[in-house]
């Protein structure tokens, strides 16, 4: 019995080690004074300072943030609409097809999604002259298409767990359908929408493959920049950058978890 529990403990330890030691070492070496990424040379925060003086890094971080914010907002709007259509509009013609097509970007290999979107943008440019150049716009559109699938799924599951007679009761009491959406439906699915927004935000922020396909010259997102820099060797400022991203994403996930837990408690 005792041997078995020791075995289980070591499996647990290895599992966690594989997951978190790399992350921990990235954070650890971001405070390294040495120019060599893997040789400890004393504590320092100089790489963080250097990071904020590096225009290339700042530009791409700013671009990534702008894209992520736009994508999260658009994906939440469209995803919520799709989720509502799937749960509240009965069994309309083509519902199964619609539901399948909403979720397909989640299972499609990113390379395929990226490539097909690139082909779309290129042929659009030849046909109507838009998009004149690939960058913020095209990346935003591409990210929104796959991020809204996640939002739609989250909103849909929240809506189907919600008692439909709540909306009927509001209508019975004199609320017109659109009014009822704002009075009843949206406040009740708000936690799901916020969780969806945060998920879309992080998905957009760390996407590399699709961004690489649909971006153009001069428009590098943060993951693209990191990837290209790493090809020339890992430098300590990359570690500092990664640490900031970890901090950012972790707090986003924690907030999403906290919001959904609170909402669950309130509605029982």
């Amino acid at each position: 019995m005792k041997r078995r529990s020791r075995f289980i403990l070591s499996v647990l330890a290895f599992g966690y080690a594989f997951l978190y030691v790399p992350l921990a070492s990235v954070i650890f070496y971001s405070f390294n004074d040495s120019r060599l990424a893997t040789v400890w040379g004393g504590f320092s925060t100089r790489w963080y300072g250097e990071l904020f003086r590096n225009d290339q890094v700042l530009d791409s971080a700013f671009l990534s943030l702008r894209i992520a914010l736009t994508v999260a907002t658009l994906a939440t709007i469209f995803g919520t609409m799709a989720g509502m259509a799937l749960t509240r509009f009965g069994r309309f013609r083509g519902r199964t097809l619609f539901s399948g097509m909403i979720t397909s970007p989640m299972v499609m290999p990113e390379v395929i999604t990226g490539l097909s979107l690139l082909l779309l943008f290129v042929s659009l440019q030849q046909l109507i002259g838009w998009p004149a150049q690939r960058g913020f716009g095209t990346i935003t559109i591409a990210h929104t298409t796959f991020a809204m699938a996640y939002v739609a799924i989250i909103v849909q599951s929240r809506l189907s767990a919600m008692d439909e007679s709540l909306e009927e009761a509001a209508m019975d009491l004199g609320g017109r359908p659109l009014r009822v959406v704002f009075d009843i439906t949206l406040p009740l699915i708000a936690p799901a929408m916020i969780a969806g927004w945060l998920l879309a935000f992080t998905l957009s922020l760390d996407d590399l493959v699709i961004s690489s396909f649909v971006s153009g010259p001069g428009a590098s997102t943060l993951p693209m920049l990191i990837f290209s820099k790493v090809k020339l060797g890992v430098t300590p400022d990359i570690n500092a950058l990664a640490t900031l991203i970890i901090l950012f994403v972790t707090s986003g996930v924690l907030i999403a978890w906290w919001i959904s837990r609170r909402a669950q408690r309130q509605t029982g």
Partner: protein, 370 residues
């Protein structure tokens, strides 16, 4: 109760309403008039179409055929938010993100009523359902019974012409249910609003209603006061659905004055029933007797006009106020009999396997042809 007087003026008119889901007729050519101030129940087993009918009245379903008039106005095409009708949902559907007060005020706010008046009417209504001290609470801080009263207050504060109640008592426990039954009746009496209640619980329908409509497979089977439906069921379905009844299948063999003689194999001979419209000789009928209409005795009763049958006590159940007996006749048929325990005696009157006689008056038996 208020029964017949109220039903004389039609207030809700359901004219030949049908609702099809694909090929399935959930509601099948239902015509019904409900009087002003009635407490009307629609009774039926689950899936009989009663909830669909209620949802048609509320405006959540549009009938495939037929029209609905309330107070002389055709509301068939009106959306739910324009109907002078409010509904109390089975799940209560109290808005979880609003306080009790906000819940009750919601309907009035949509009407665009001045804020001062909303506050006054909401206060009055909360007072009536005894929730005035809970105004600032959220629904998750309330008990089931309290939530139900929020739902009731929220619907009534709009002063609807008709209040629809979908299984109003189903989610409450037994004690609370009895209390709420009388509370509902009191509120209905006080406000004079027409109530239409949908329920599967025949006891609830009997106690609450001025009239009952019994539904089966989308059709109306019988409409009448609780007494009519119980004492004069018009079909085997109604007789069986409401209360307990002993049914003897047989054929008409002849007539004596106003009574009909029916040959029942189960009873081992001829039984007699009174009938205003006697069916033809040879037609199959069902003679039905309620358990409480049957007398039970150890000695053969003298009254020769009564139907008398001999049997043995197969089983008995003591319920305190009354006892239920299952009497096995010589033919093997088991008859249910209930008797009031009016005397308090140390010994039981009857025991298992006692030889007994059961009897009933001819006018206690109902003749059913449908």
């Amino acid at each position: 109760m208020t029964g017949n007087a109220a039903s004389s003026t039609p207030f809700i008119e359901i004219q030949n309403v049908s609702k099809y889901f694909g090929d399935f007729a959930a509601v099948d050519s239902v015509s019904l008039t409900i009087g002003k101030g009635e407490l009307f129940s629609i009774l039926g087993a689950s899936g009989c179409g009663k909830t669909t009918l209620l949802r048609i009245l509320a405006g959540f379903e549009t009938p495939s055929k037929g029209r609905i008039l309330i107070d002389g106005v055709d509301i068939t095409e009106l959306p739910p938010y324009e109907r002078p009708v409010n509904m109390m949902f089975q799940s209560y559907a109290v808005f979880p993100h609003m306080t009790v007060e906000k819940n009750v005020a919601y309907g009035l706010e949509k009407e665009g009523i001045p804020r001062v008046e909303i506050k006054r009417r909401v206060g009055e209504m909360l007072n009536m359902v005894q929730l005035d001290t809970f105004a600032a609470r959220k629904p998750h801080q309330l008990s089931g019974g309290q939530r139900q009263r929020v739902a009731l207050a929220r619907a009534l504060v709009k002063r609807p012409k008709v209040l629809l109640l979908d299984e109003p008592l189903a989610a409450l426990d037994k004690k609370l249910r009895e209390h709420t039954q009388f509370e509902l009746m009191g509120i209905q009496y006080k406000l004079g609003i027409t109530f239409v209640v949908v329920t599967h619980d025949q006891e609830e329908a009997m106690i609450l209603s001025s009239r009952i409509a019994v539904m089966d497979k989308g059709r109306l089977i019988q409409v009448g006061t609780p007494k009519e439906v119980y004492e004069y069921p018009n079909s085997r379905f109604v007789a069986d659905f409401i209360g307990t009844i002993n049914m003897f299948e047989g054929t008409v063999v002849g007539f004596d004055d106003d009574s009909v003689r029916v040959n029942c194999k189960d009873a081992g001979g001829e039984l007699v029933a009174l009938s205003d419209a006697p069916p033809a000789v040879g037609s199959p009928v069902c003679l039905a007797v309620r358990p409480e209409k049957i007398f039970i005795s150890k000695h053969e009763p003298d009254n020769t006009e009564d139907t008398r049958l001999a049997g043995i006590v197969e089983d008995l159940g003591y319920f305190g106020n009354l006892s239920l007996y299952r009497i096995r006749l010589a033919t093997g048929r088991v008859v249910q009999v209930s008797a009031q325990n009016s005397r308090r005696s140390a010994e039981r009157f009857l025991e298992w396997d006692d030889k007994v006689f059961i009897s009933w008056r001819p006018r206690s038996a109902v003749l059913l042809t449908d």
